[in-house]
């Protein structure tokens, strides 16, 4: 009845739970509420621990039937619960705070006894454990699809609850319903008109979207539904029509598209609806929780079915049709990204900025690591070089003041002496070139060596750059520990078109566009390079260096190029970073930045540009939002790196297999045109 594996697995889970408990995690997460006034983040964590153990132990006896699953699940969860109870007993018996320092401020007992006395709290904990175990056992006995739907929708509902304050005002329920309605109409129309070409379908989507937009706008403005809404109470009917037309077009494009885009759209729909519900209820109360759960459950129920159909529709189209579809989807994604800051608010936009910066660096590092297989551990060095180049060139410095220390110049004389001061636009190409050159100079001695050495030498190089910028010896140039301050923000001056059009890219909103532009450029360059002759050479080197060389590839040249392009992108990221923060400090350039970037490209999927983006959102965006978890961010990185390598070494979104033979087929008829 009881499997021996249950005890083993249960004790592993209990060990992990106890270890985490001793870090004071329960106390730290107790402040954050998931369901207002009812469920805190620490309870969610406890539930994850208990159910995780239950699921693990129960899954081992899956073939023995439901009773065995229930029993073993309960036992597994109980072992974890008992372990935690034991820790509480020990905590109350002896003083653990000297060794486990975090327990001083965040003791375990008050949280895990749920405000009861120790003894009744422990009994409650054990009862809850048994319950969690039973639920896990029961969950395992239902079909796996239903289980996945339940778990995923619970997870997403919890994350909506967590982010309540930040996302509540993004959109209203009427907004969400209108968008979903128009999107759905376009989608349905496209499905019914599959026999027509994709351009026709797009046109239909656009037209119907526009009509629905007009109708909705009239209803909303007439009936007063649009209060607080951004889309429905939009200033003019024209902009409303354009927006809804595009949404309708998106709906028709998505009806036949690849998995990623289709799933992504569905996720967006889910979040729009849940945020709408949250906005309507104005807090994460039980009604909102329940509704959001239903939204996500429906979504996950629909997702595999719809996506399979949509992608099979996509596959059966001829290639040019597919391209129209793809390009339109890409255009919409870009448009959404362009208007997103208006909806997301300052806080989330600034997080997007940070994520974007990491995406730029990730795309760069991906060229070296993902394409060519060069493990670079000191990527931050090139980021720092970019930032410092822009920093020294756009401020009065030794370089821009003709070799005179700015401190020795009277304030009034600075404009006349420091004539070398550049604008951001003049300085950033230099920053990119400096980083690339540094990549070449470092690469020449090291790239001919085996990969392991490259890893360690680049790690060392990263530290060298940081130490040099930090050290007193180079203070006149790099400013030592104080770094460089008063870096001017990039200015877009279009006053010759309109006197009011002078934009200082200093705020989170404005710099967002610069970063977005940077991402588009780097992603495009990386994509082009990756899919042509040089990219093939890089991937051949990654697969088998010796044979690649025997194919006539000049290893040194190809590796240097890859290294230099990657470094250049990091330099671009650094340049933007420096002028965004308007100051540079050596401590922004620690080895942790390198590890962040490496982790995100590995977890996203080596060699895959969408993977980099997803990785950056998960590894940079989420911890920024979950402030309580920030202390645990690096721990999670470390564990994630190990787990991903063990379980899914190709990452979350591995690069697709390139189907080149189709390009040959379609190239033949097009040859006349081209």
């Amino acid at each position: 009845m009881i499997a021996s594996s249950t005890f083993r697995q249960g004790s592993y889970a209990a060990a992990v739970a106890i270890l985490l408990a001793l870090t004071g995690v329960f106390g730290k997460l107790d402040e954050r509420q998931v369901v207002t006034g009812a469920i805190t983040l620490s309870m969610v964590l406890l539930a994850i621990m208990l159910c995780g153990a239950g699921l693990m132990t129960a899954s081992r006896v899956k073939e023995r039937g439901i009773v065995a699953m229930l029993f073993n699940g309960i036992l597994g969860s109980l072992i974890v619960g008992a372990g935690l109870a034991l820790v509480m007993l020990v905590e109350n018996a002896i003083d653990l705070t000297f060794v486990f320092a975090e327990l001083k401020t965040d003791p375990i007992t008050p949280v895990l006894t749920f405000g009861q006395t120790l003894s009744s709290g422990i009994i409650l904990l054990l009862v809850l454990s048994a319950l969690a175990g039973a639920i896990s056992g029961a969950l395992l006995s239902i079909p796996s699809e239903a289980r996945q739907i339940i778990l995923l929708s619970l997870a997403l509902t919890a994350s909506v609850g967590l982010l309540e304050a930040q996302i509540k005002s993004i959109n209203t329920l009427p907004d969400a319903l209108a968008v979903v309605g128009v999107l759905g109409t376009g989608y349905l129309v496209a499905i019914n008109q599959m026999q027509r070409s994709s351009l026709v379908r797009l046109g239909l989507g656009l037209g119907i979207g526009a009509i629905v937009g007009i109708v909705l706008g009239l209803i909303a403005n007439g009936g007063g539904f649009g209060t607080g809404s951004r889309l429905l109470s939009a200033p003019g009917i024209l902009s409303q029509v354009i927006v809804f037309a595009l949404i309708g077009g998106m709906g028709s494009a998505v009806a036949a598209t690849q998995r990623n885009i289709h799933n992504g759209t569905l996720f967006v729909v889910g979040f729009l609806l849940s945020i709408g519900v949250l906005n309507w209820q104005n807090s994460m109360n039980w009604i909102a929780t329940l509704l959001i759960l239903i939204v996500f459950a429906t979504l996950f129920w629909l997702m595999p079915r719809l996506t399979a159909e949509a992608s099979s529709r996509f596959e059966t189209q001829p290639r040019p049709e597919r391209q129209v579809n793809q390009r339109f989807s890409l255009l919409i994604v870009l448009l959404v990204m362009l208007v997103a800051p208006l909806f997301l608010g300052q806080y989330i936009t600034s997080i997007f900025d940070l994520v974007g910066l990491y995406i730029i660096m990730g795309i760069g590092l991906n060229i070296a690591v993902g394409y060519t297989g060069l493990l670079v551990l000191g990527f931050v060095a090139f980021f720092a070089l970019g930032a410092y180049t822009v920093g020294t060139l756009t401020t009065p410095s030794l370089l821009t003041c003709g070799g005179i220390l700015p401190a020795d110049i009277a304030r009034a004389d600075i404009p006349t002496i420091c004539t070398g001061v550049m604008t951001f636009w003049q300085a950033w190409p230099i920053a990119v070139i400096v980083s690339m050159l540094a990549g070449v100079v470092l690469g020449i001695p090291v790239l001919r060596l085996r990969g392991d050495y490259l890893a360690i030498v680049t790690l060392g190089f990263g530290e060298i750059i940081r130490l040099i910028t930090l050290s007193g010896d180079f203070k006149p140039i790099f400013g030592g520990a104080q770094g460089i301050g008063n870096i001017p923000v990039p200015v877009v001056d279009l006053t010759f078109l309109n006197p009011a059009w002078r934009f200082e890219l200093g705020s989170a909103f404005n710099i967002y566009y610069l970063i977005l532009f940077g991402i588009v450029i780097t992603a495009f360059v990386a994509y082009r390079l990756g899919s042509t002759r040089l990219g093939r050479a890089w991937r051949a080197i990654r697969a088998d260096e010796d044979v690649a060389r025997a194919m006539g590839i000049n290893l040194t040249r190809a590796k240097l190029l890859s290294f230099a392009v990657g470094a250049g992108f990091a330099g671009l990221g650094g340049a933007i970073f420096g002028s965004w923060l308007q100051g540079i400090f050596p401590n922004s350039f620690t080895v942790l930045v390198s590890i962040n970037v490496l982790a995100l490209i590995i977890i996203g999927g080596l060699g895959s540009i969408p993977g980099v983006m997803l990785g950056a959102v998960i590894l940079v965006g989420l911890p920024e939002i979950l402030r309580e978890l920030q202390d645990y961010r690096l721990l999670a990185f470390g564990v994630l790196l190990v787990v991903v390598m063990l379980a899914r070494p190709e990452g979350l979104i591995p690069p697709p297999v390139r189907r080149l033979s189709e390009q040959v087929d379609s190239a033949t008829p097009q040859q006349g045109k081209a």
Binding site: A540, A543, N554, L555, E662, A667
Partner: protein, 270 residues
């Protein structure tokens, strides 16, 4: 036979104290099929590696036409017009059959990074032409329709053919095949035999191969060289070599040993 495409003179390769190739002289007439045979560990693959630049010959000279190969890097040698396959197949894992062939075309393509980024017309038409040629090559070696398969998912026999297609992609004048029929059954070996002939006749190639299958060697070769313990002990037409007492003694006697050893990898260095 007056115009050898490859001529090696007194090639010696030492690894520390061990001499794997002892003063080998060898020349291959243009347009012929030449074979290099010998027991395992005789130094055949080491000699191949010296020709292709994987190893640098310790002494001696290897000329390709008039060009000295010793001291050149493998990529330079490939650019000069020599391509090879490997005893244990070494395709690029994680890349499709077509991509493998396109990598093989690397030295014949010109487009640089800037052209690729900007998608200049020259680069585009070059890519299109390359793709077309790669498709033709696939078809030529009998892999039509497998272009988008990942190399590692192809069957063993197809992987061998893909490797040959990849070697052909660099438009070589001289093709080195290292045991092209290793691990094949008699039927497949027969196919390979015809294929090698076809390659020479249709593609205007010189072929130099290492092979253990005597039937194949004796049927297709114009010239057979025999190596044993790092030395060349005989050379001539198949019938001459078959009659040579030294070969019978050293090689054919040793072949029985080969069988008991099975298809162990040739580890010259160890």
């Amino acid at each position: 036979m007056s115009d050898p495409i490859l001529s090696a003179q007194r090639v010696i390769k030492r690894f520390g104290g061990l001499t794997a190739v002892r003063s080998v002289d060898l020349s291959i007439p243009r347009g012929s099929i030449a074979s290099l045979i010998g027991p395992n560990g005789a130094g055949k693959t080491t000699f191949f590696n010296c020709v292709t630049g994987f190893y640098v010959a310790t002494e001696g000279s290897i000329k390709f036409g008039n060009r000295e190969l010793v001291g050149l890097r493998p990529d330079q040698i490939t650019n000069a017009g020599i391509a090879r396959t490997y005893q244990n197949i070494r395709l690029f894992q994680g890349m499709t059959a077509l991509e493998n062939i396109l990598v093989g075309m690397h030295p014949r393509l010109k487009s640089g990074p800037l052209g690729s980024i900007l998608g200049l017309p020259g680069q585009r038409s070059e890519e299109r032409a390359a793709l077309r040629k790669a498709m033709d090559l696939l078809e030529y070696v009998g892999l039509a329709g497998n272009g988008d398969w990942l190399a590692e998912n192809l069957s063993y026999g197809l992987q061998r053919r893909l490797e040959i297609a990849r070697a052909l992609a660099s438009e070589p004048q001289l093709l080195l095949l290292d045991e092209p029929t290793a691990g094949m059954n008699p039927n497949e070996t027969d196919d390979m035999m015809h294929f090698i002939r076809r390659l020479r006749d249709e593609r205007n190639l010189t072929i130099f191969l290492i092979e253990h299958d005597m039937k194949l060697v004796m049927t297709v070769s114009d010239q057979v060289s025999v190596m044993d313990y790092g030395e060349k002990i005989a050379e001539g037409t198949p019938s001459e070599v078959q009659r040579n007492p030294r070969v019978i003694e050293a090689y054919l006697g040793a072949q029985n040993v080969d069988k008991t050893r099975g298809k162990r990898k040739e580890q010259v260095a160890s």
